[in-house]
Symmetry: C2
Subunit: 621 residues, 2 copies
C-alpha cells in the first residue's frame, strides 16, 4: 500500500517526500520498528542527541486510522537526550490517524531551525510558520492559537502535536504532547524538538486509508473487536481508567511509595481510580476509534488545586505524583497533572525526579550528603521546602523545572543526573537513565526482568509482566514466586509488543488478543497473504534486537541491571515484606540471555543472523 514519509529539514524549512520500500515494511512494519531501523541507518553514532544531526521519527503503522480498533496512536523515535541511546515513545489521542489523513504515514524531522517554527500539513500541503509567538506558551494555549490560525476550532477535526516550555528549555524529561493532554512522554524526545526549535505540527486532511482486502479486513477487525469488548479488563479500564490499578497494585505491596522505600501507601484509596470516578470525573473518553475509552476527563472546581476540565490523571501519574511523593490528595494530583501536561513533562520521570529531590532534601538535613552538596542544595531550594507529602513545593518545582529556574535547572536533567550531582546516585531509581514506573519489582518479581532488559530503559511497556503476575493474562502466576516460565513470557511479550508498537496499536488490546489476531489483519491490510504468526513474532524479535544494537553501537546502555535499592534492600512493608529483586534476577537474567541468544546484553552474531539482521552483523558479540 506504500508508506509515505515526509522528510522535513528545519535548517532551511524545506521538505521532500519518499516512499518506504515494501520489503522494509515487511521487515519492520512501521511505527517503532521502522523508526528503529531508520534511526540505526541515519543517525550517526556518538552524536550529541541535542545537535542538528539527531532526527525525530514520528510514525504511524499499517493499521493506524484504519477500521482496526485501538488504531488511534503514533510512535516517536530518536536518540534520547535522557538515556543517550535509542529513545522512543507512543501516544494516543487523535494525532496518529490525522497524520495519515493529512497525506503522510510518517514525518522525519531533520536539522535544526534558527528560529522557532511550526508546521502545518493539510491534505498533503506542507507549510512552515514562524513560531515566535508560540514559544514559551503552554501546550493547551498553543493548540488554541494554532487552531485559530488554521481556522479549525473543532477538536474533532485535525490534530496538534506540540512541545511545552519543558521541551523548549531542553529538559531531558520533557514530553511530546498531542491533543493537549496526550503524551509521547518517555525518554525526553521533546527536548530534541526543542533543540530543533520545532514547536508544533498541525495535521488535517481527507485522505482515505486503504487496505488491500476490504472484506477480509472488516471481518478480521470484527473478530478482534469482539474479543476486546468481551474482556473484563476492557470494562474495568472504561469504568475506572488506568487508575483502577492503584488499589490492586497497592494490595500486592508493589505500589512504590516514598521514592521506592516502601511498597504500600496508606492513602492509596484516596488516589484510586474508584475515588477519582466518584469525586472528580466528568466523563470517560477514547482515542480515535477506541471502544475501551480508558481516558479520564476530570476537574477540580474549587480550592487551591482548582483545575479546569481536562484529561487525566492516569495510573502512572497518580502514582508518580502521589504515592511516590507521599501525596494522598487527589485534587493536588489533578492540578499537578494539568500543569505537567501544559508545561510538557513526562509525568513518570517528573514524579520520580521530585521524589528524589525530597530524598536529597531529607538527606541534606540529616547530614547524609557531602557537605558542599548539601549546602548547595539547600541554597538552591530557595522558598521550596520539599517535605514528603507536600503538594505546594511540587507545584513550585514544576514551574522551576520547566523554565530551568534555580533548582529546576537540575531537576530538568531528570532523576539520575539530579541524584548524581548532589552526591547520592542511588537515590534515583532508574535503568539506563530512564526513571521506573509504578510497579515495585520486589513485589512483582517478573517486572525485575522486564525493567532490567527494557531497551529504552526502565519502563513497563516493553513487557508488561503485571499482566500475568497480577492480572492473570494469559495465566495467573504468584508474583513473588521465582519461576522460569515467567522469563519466557517476558521475552514473548517483548517481541509481541514490538509488533504492537510497530503496527501501531494500543497495548490494551493485548489483554484480549494474541499474535495470530494480527496476522489476519495484516494480511488483509497489506496483502501479505503468506504472513504467519511465526514470521510476525520473529519480526518483533528482530526489532527488539535491532534496538539493542543501537546501544551496542553507542558503546553504552546495553548492560541489563536494576537499581541497587531494588536489588539489595528488602521491601519493609506489605505482602512483599522482606523481598528484594536480587534472588529473582540471579535466576531470570541468565535464562533470558539464553533464550535471546545474547551475551552480557549483546546479541551474538548467530542471533543477528537468525532474526534477519545480517546487515548489522558486525555489531554482534
Amino acid at each position: 500500500m506504500g508508506f509515505k514519509l515526509l522528510r522535513v529539514d528545519l535548517t532551511d524549512w524545506s521538505y521532500r517526500v519518499e516512499e518506504v520500500p515494501d520489503e522494509i515494511l515487511r521487515k519492520y512494519i512501521g511505527g517503532r520498528g521502522l523508526g528503529a531501523y531508520l534511526a540505526m541507518k541515519e543517525i550517526p553514532p556518538h552524536i550529541n542527541p541535542l545537535s542538528p544531526e539527531n532526527k525525530i521519527y514520528i510514525l504511524t503503522g499499517p493499521l493506524t486510522g484504519t477500521g482496526a480498533f485501538e488504531s488511534g496512536r503514533y510512535h516517536v523515535v530518536g536518540k534520547s537526550p535522557l538515556t543517550g541511546i535509542l529513545g522512543d515513545s507512543n501516544s494516543g489521542g487523535q494525532f496518529g490517524p490525522w497524520l495519515r489523513f493529512s497525506g503522510y504515514d510518517g514525518i522525519v524531522v531533520e536539522g535544526a531551525s534558527d528560529e522557532p517554527v511550526w508546521i502545518s500539513i493539510v491534505d498533503g500541503e506542507v507549510a512552515f510558520h514562524p513560531a515566535k509567538k508560540l514559544w514559551g506558551k503552554g501546550v493547551v494555549y498553543t493548540e488554541k492559537l494554532i487552531r485559530k490560525e488554521m481556522k479549525t476550532p473543532s477538536e474533532h477535526i485535525g490534530s496538534v502535536l506540540a512541545i511545552g516550555p519543558a521541551g523548549e528549555n531542553l529538559s531531558k524529561i520533557a514530553a511530546i504532547m498531542n491533543d493537549k493532554y496526550r503524551a509521547a512522554g518517555r525518554t525526553g524526545l521533546a527536548a530534541v524538538l526543542g533543540y530543533k526549535k520545532l514547536k508544533a505540527i498541525f495535521v488535517k486532511g481527507s485522505r482515505k486509508i486503504e487496505v488491500v482486502d476490504k472484506e477480509k479486513f472488516k471481518e478480521e477487525s470484527k473478530k478482534v473487536l469482539d474479543k476486546i469488548m468481551k474482556h473484563s479488563i476492557s470494562e474495568a479500564l472504561g469504568k475506572f481508567g488506568t487508575a483502577v490499578l492503584v488499589n490492586i497494585i497497592n494490595a500486592h505491596g508493589a505500589f512504590p511509595t516514598k521514592n521506592w522505600t516502601r511498597g504500600t501507601f496508606e492513602k492509596a484509596f484516596e488516589i484510586s481510580g474508584e475515588y477519582l470516578a466518584e469525586k472528580y470525573l466528568v466523563s470517560n473518553k477514547g482515542c480515535w476509534g477506541c471502544v475501551i475509552r480508558c481516558a479520564r476527563v476530570s476537574k477540580v472546581d474549587n480550592g487551591p488545586y482548582r483545575t479546569p476540565v481536562s484529561e487525566g490523571p492516569e495510573y502512572e501519574t497518580i502514582w508518580a505524583f502521589g504515592a511516590n511523593n507521599l501525596i494522598g490528595d487527589m485534587e493536588a494530583i489533578i492540578k499537578l497533572n494539568y500543569l505537567a501536561n501544559d508545561l510538557g513533562f513526562d509525568t513518570i520521570s517528573l514524579g520520580n525526579t521530585m521524589a528524589v529531590l525530597r530524598e536529597l532534601y531529607e538527606k541534606a538535613q540529616k547530614g547524609e550528603l557531602p557537605e558542599d552538596k548539601a549546602k548547595e542544595l539547600l541554597d538552591l531550594l530557595e522558598d521550596i521546602k520539599p517535605d514528603w507529602g507536600d503538594p505546594d513545593s511540587f507545584i513550585q518545582a514544576v514551574w522551576r523545572t520547566a523554565y530551568r529556574h534555580g533548582i529546576g535547572d537540575y531537576m530538568a536533567e531528570g532523576a539520575a543526573r539530579l541524584a548524581e550531582y548532589f552526591g547520592s546516585p542511588d537515590s534515583a531509581i532508574h535503568v539506563r537513565g530512564l526513571e521506573l514506573p509504578a510497579y515495585d519489582p520486589r513485589g512483582i518479581n517478573s517486572m525485575a526482568l522486564s525493567y532490567a532488559t527494557s531497551n529504552r530503559g526502565g519502563c513497563h511497556l516493553r513487557a508488561y509482566a503485571v499482566s500475568f503476575d497480577v492480572l492473570g493474562v494469559p495465566e495467573k502466576f504468584d508474583p513473588l514466586a521465582i519461576d522460569k516460565r515467567k522469563v519466557e513470557l517476558v521475552k514473548y511479550q517483548q517481541d509481541y509488543f514490538s509488533v504492537i508498537d510497530s503496527l501501531v496499536l494500543c497495548k490494551f488490546n493485548t489483554f484480549a488478543t494474541d499474535v495470530p489476531d494480527y496476522v489476519g489483519l495484516l494480511q488483509a491490510a497489506m496483502g501479505w497473504d503468506d504472513l504467519t504468526s511465526e514470521e510476525l513474532l520473529l519480526t518483533g524479535e528482530r526489532i527488539y534486537n535491532l534496538e539493542r544494537l543501537f546501544a551496542v553501537r553507542e558503546g553504552h546502555g546495553y548492560k541489563d541491571y536494576l537499581p541497587k535499592r531494588l536489588m539489595e534492600e528488602p521491601i519493609p512493608d506489605g505482602p512483599a515484606k522482606g523481598k528484594r529483586a536480587k534472588e529473582a534476577m540471579e535466576v531470570y537474567l541468565p535464562y533470558f540471555y539464553e533464550l535471546r541468544g545474547w551475551v552480557d546484553g549483546k546479541p551474538t552474531k548467530e542471533t543477528l543472523k537468525r532474526v534477519g539482521l545480517e546487515e548489522f552483523i558486525d555489531l554482534g558479540a
Copy 2:
C-alpha cells in the same frame, strides 16, 4: 571632580570612557537629571523602546559613596516600554557606591547583543562574559553564580545588578534588581536590558571617592546626619520599615483596596509593619552608609508560603499584593514578594496588574465584558481562579507572567494594556501607563495632583504629598481639604526631589532636611562655592521641565490626568467616604500650570528660557 561615564556597546561588546563636562554637571548634577539630559540628547525621538537605539543610563551622583548619609543609591534612566516616554527608577542597596568604587560614575548601555551577556567591572577593568548559563535564572541564583565566577562570595564586597526572567521575556513591568532584593522597579526598564540581552553587571573596586573640601564636607555631613538621626520618622522607619504606613494610611481611608474600589482594608493590621516586626522579622537592614535602616529582613519558616531569609516586603508591595488584591495573609505576601524579586518584577505594577485580572474575571462572570473577550479570558485562565483574596492564583500568575505563559503573556504587558485588551480600560488605575502606588488620592487629595503631574506616570516619588497631608512635614494639612498651598508644596517637592534623585540620595532624608542642607554638601564635594539654594532649586525645576519635554517631543504622555475611577467615583467607605478627586483637581491643576508656567501640560518657551533650557526652546508651547 570629573564624572566618568563608561559607554558600553553591546552590539560588538566594546566600550569607551568619557568624562562629563563640569558645566553639564552643574546644570543637571548627576543621576536622574544627568540621565534625562543625556537621554534627550542621545535617544532619537519616536524609537521603539525595545530596539537597539534605546539606551539605559545607570548613574550615580556627586554624593554617591561619599561620607554623606543615605548616599547608597543609583538611578536608571531610559525610554520606557511601559509608558513610551522617559522612564526612570531609583534603587538602594550597595550597587551605587560599588559602581563608583569600580572606577566609573555611570554606565551607558547602548546597542543590543545577539547573545546573552554579563559585564564585570573591577577597578576600571571591563570584561564581557557570555551569559547563556544565566539566562532564565532567577535574580538570587544569578547573583550567586556571578559571585562564584568572580571569586567574591562575601555580599559585603562588590555588588551585582541583574534582571530576572521577567526582564528577559520583555515584560513591561519588569524591574532592574540589585543586591538580590533591591529594585529599580518603575517604568519597566528591565525589559530594555532584556531586549539588549544584558543579564547582569558586577562591580567591585577600591577607587576612593574624593571631595574637594574634606573638612567642610565632614562638617556638613554631620549637620545633616544629626537632623536625620533626631527625626521621629527616621526612628519609625528603622523599627517597622516602610510598612509602618499600613495602619496610618488605612486609618486615613486612603489605603486602596480591591483594585481601588475601597479606601480601607479590614485586615490592614495583619499586613502591617507592626505585625511583620512581631511575627516574621529577622532583622532590619540598611543600604550602604545608612543610619535609618528601614529595610526588612524576613522569613516564613513553614507552610505553603515558606520563604527563606530575604529582604522585604516594603509598604508598597504589601499594599499592592495585599489590600489591593484583598489578601490579608502576611505569609503569602512575603512569599509573593520573594518570587516577584527573584523573577524580577516591579511589585507595584505587578500587584495592580493582578488586581485588574481579578476585576476582569469578576466582570467576565457577571457578563460585564464584551462576550468574546470574556470567553477568551476564561479560556486563558486555565487553572487559575483569581477570586478576590486568593493567594494561590497569584502565585500561579506570577510564574505565568514572568515566562509569558498563557494569561501571563497579557499580564506581562502591565495593567493598562491588560485591561484595554479585555475591553475594560477603566479597570486599570494608572497615569501615562504607569500603575499607581499605595495612596488613594480621594483620601489624600494633594496626591491627586502629585500623580496626575508626575512626569514618569503614576508615582509617589516625584512629590510625596503624603508628607504634609498625613505626616505633617513640613506642616500638617487636612488631607481632605482643598487648599491651594498644597499645590505650591507639590511643585516645590517635585523640584526638590529632582535634586535629591540627581545627587543621588535617599528621599527619607527629606523628612528631616531641606534644600539648604544640600548646598553646603555640594559646595564641599564639588567645589561649587558660589552655589545657592535658589540655583539648586532652579536646577530641580530645570530637570522637571526637561523630563516633560521628552514627552512633548514624543507627541504623547504630557497630558496631566487621573484615572476615571478616582476622578468620578466617590470612595464608598472610611474617613474619606463620598470623596472623589475631581473637585480637588479642578482647583489644583490650573494653579499648578500657573506656577509652572505650563500650558496644557507643556512648558512655554518663556519657562524654558527661565529654567535654562534654551537648548530645547523649539519644544516650548
